[in-house]
Symmetry: C2
Subunit: 423 residues, 2 copies
């Protein structure tokens, strides 16, 4: 379902294979839960172990929400919004017209943003999904207090029917609030961290509200589990990608730019940045994750990539089939001299842009390019892609001897901030 | 109007001052047009030389457009959309409700994006601004052919009144088309490159259509011209920023992350990435430009910045006054335990997040931080900020002995693509 191609990255088979023994041992550590961070590997078997009853309840809840609202507000930060947003934009595009508008809050203290969104919601029918394991994540708690007061003022007692909490199974501020108010709740598993949580209710509820087939998403996840459950580097593209990243950093490339040619994939890149950056960026190690959307950003970052300092490699995330294709129309007058493309599929034009750019960056720019090709932007592919990146990320971190599942550095700013806020 | 602070970047005054002679000579080269790329320095004197008659026509045209449309489509790529989008999002926010919706096209070949936008436009009242110096920029020409056919089908002969072309003064495909069809036209000056063009009709028309005061924008530009027209490093924060960038790259920092705490500033960062990346990324030199919005991305990139490989420095773009502030409300029940913030301005909370993060990244993370502080997100400040960055960018490139105004590397992908497309 996913093709991985490292033949444009100036690597050779021998170098890659030299990692086989290490990969075999890291794979074993992941599977028998003996590696670093082994209390957060619930995602590994999740395609088999997820709660089918809760899954059915997610679908029912999503239908109920869809029937009630113009705007569905997702209130969460980090992994509690990036995955859902990535999926929804990828599959519905940037101008969807057949589902509630999904707005993300709870991920900023900006009063400008908060006030403008609250103002925008005034005359809309609104439902809210608040997502926080503990309920004490400050950005999310700030926004949710505003939303809760808004909902109670607008809907009175019925507000509780329009608010869903995704949180801890039994404890925490948000769980208690939900119980007291009678919100429906879904569970954030204890052994799956935020950046791996898009495959849990955290991601699935908003994705389902957008009208996306989450059964297909789970099928994709399951397919990936079966395809990628081998340590053999000739058979596992996820691990192969993990090894190539290590080799390219050894070769002096400290930044990786994830590139897509589809604007509706740009949030997937943001999600990927959290997954890899937060997993790997420890002990003064790791690759700086960047992203771009081409050909758009060839007219901004293209010059640097082509001729600037050789600090990065590119990972192309290519999509074979667009959500919609268009035939470029003929124009009798042809004043713009574009008739040479008349009758062509615009997706084909986009693919040629990708191919020409690959050549330019590889051959003249000497920039290594890894290529990940996915067939389409369907729910099944999204599920598959998530699991592909999860496996890659775990492996690439284990190869660095890094715990892929914690994020101790994120606490430092919070500690300072709480002091300044007088908490 | 702008404060620059390098005291959190592990630099010392002596190092900075050691650049004074070089800065003085580069400043002279810029002002007397003897430096590299001197045929593209029209922006330097633009605050004094811009065409006042055309400027008045922009305002009139914008009023005409605003009265006619629900959606104003800007069709351009690179500098022909980034500056306008940056300004509009900064000043109007992400959910504006008192102006036509501004949609950007002509910057991608993605059939998914193009088809979905065209579909979205079906039942709207639409005006179009196509922006291309030559008219042959492929992404823009492809989208404009779709738009032109749509407009002619929808409005017949009146379509011409709803289309405005910003293009060369006298020649080129688009100029000829505009003359033949009777579109109103505005001029892209010959001596101002794309990434410096937001201060010309390229940026000003869409910005004015969004209802932003472009007189104030030009006043900001003019103030910056007067404030920053000195080579003295103790008096010119733009040049000081330019020097600090060079010193930090010398110290091994090959990536710069522009950070803001306002989601509506994130497109300003995209615009900045083109300005610096495309100006500086030549001859295997330059700093990789990245960006993030905090505190949002502290929950994705924060871990890497705090504890990952020490490859980057941060440039904080701090805003003192938000567009709207909010007082955090009290909640009698206080189940979320957030009453410790009740009665506080959320902008203050956001500022404390910034201060706590700065401490965390500087003291524990040893990440150099440069700080650019602007008073607000007004049109005047935007104009000032543009000119600040223009001056910084020219200087930082001259200090590297790089031409800041060409982009030879952008042609390589185009050449390959045209071959593959059979042009």
């Amino acid at each position: 379902m996913i093709r991985f191609d490292e033949t444009h990255a100036f690597l050779n088979e021998e170098e890659i294979n030299s990692y086989q023994a290490q990969v075999t041992s890291c794979h074993a550590a992941l599977m028998n839960k003996s590696g670093k961070g082994n209390d957060y590997v619930g995602w590994v078997e999740w395609p088999n172990t997820y709660d089918k009853e809760e899954f059915a309840r997610i679908k029912a809840c999503a239908e109920r929400m869809r029937a009630m609202c113009d705007v569905f507000v997702v209130c969460g930060i980090g992994g509690s919004y990036l995955g859902a947003r990535a999926a929804i934009e990828m599959m519905k595009g940037l101008y969807p017209q057949d589902c509630p508008e999904i707005i993300f809050m709870g991920n900023t203290f900006s009063s400008t943003y908060l006030a403008q969104v609250m103002n925008y919601l005034q005359d809309k029918e609104v439902c809210v999904n608040v997502i926080s394991k503990s309920g004490t994540t400050t950005e999310t708690a700030v926004a949710f207090r505003l939303l809760k007061q808004f909902m109670e003022k607008k809907y009175g007692e019925d507000a509780a029917k329009r608010i869903v909490a995704t949180t801890d199974r039994t404890k925490g501020t948000l769980k208690e609030l939900a119980l007291a108010k009678g919100y429906e709740t879904f569970v954030i598993p204890d052994d799956i961290g935020g950046r791996y949580s898009v495959i849990t209710p955290v991601g699935l509820l908003p994705i389902a509200v957008a009208g996306i087939d989450i059964d297909a998403l789970m099928q994709g996840l399951s397919s990936a589990y079966h395809d990628l459950n081998t340590a053999d580097l000739t058979k596992n593209p996820a691990y192969r990608y993990a090894v190539c990243r290590r080799l390219l950093q050894h070769a002096g490339k400290d930044a990786e730019m994830l590139v897509s040619y589809e604007p509706n994939m740009s949030m997937c890149a943001e999600w990927w940045k959290q997954l890899f950056g937060e997993s790997e960026g420890k002990e003064e190690k790791g690759i700086l994750p960047c992203s771009a959307t081409f050909s758009t950003d060839l007219h901004s970052l293209g010059q640097f990539i082509q001729e600037g300092k050789k600090v990065l490699f590119e990972t192309l995330l290519l999509v074979e089939q667009p959500l919609v294709d268009l035939v470029f129309p003929k124009d009798e007058e042809n004043r713009d001299a574009m008739n040479y493309l008349a009758g062509q599929s615009l997706n084909w034009v986009n693919q040629m842009a990708a191919q020409g750019t690959l050549e330019a960056h590889e051959e003249s720019g000497h920039v290594p390019n890894l290529i990940i090709t996915i067939p389409d932007m369907s729910a099944k592919t999204f599920g598959y892609l998530c699991y592909f990146f999860f496996r890659s990320c775990a492996m690439t971190c284990y190869l660095l001897d890094i715990n892929p599942f914690n994020q101790p550095g994120v606490e430092v700013y919070k500690k300072n901030m709480f002091r300044l806020l007088g908490k």
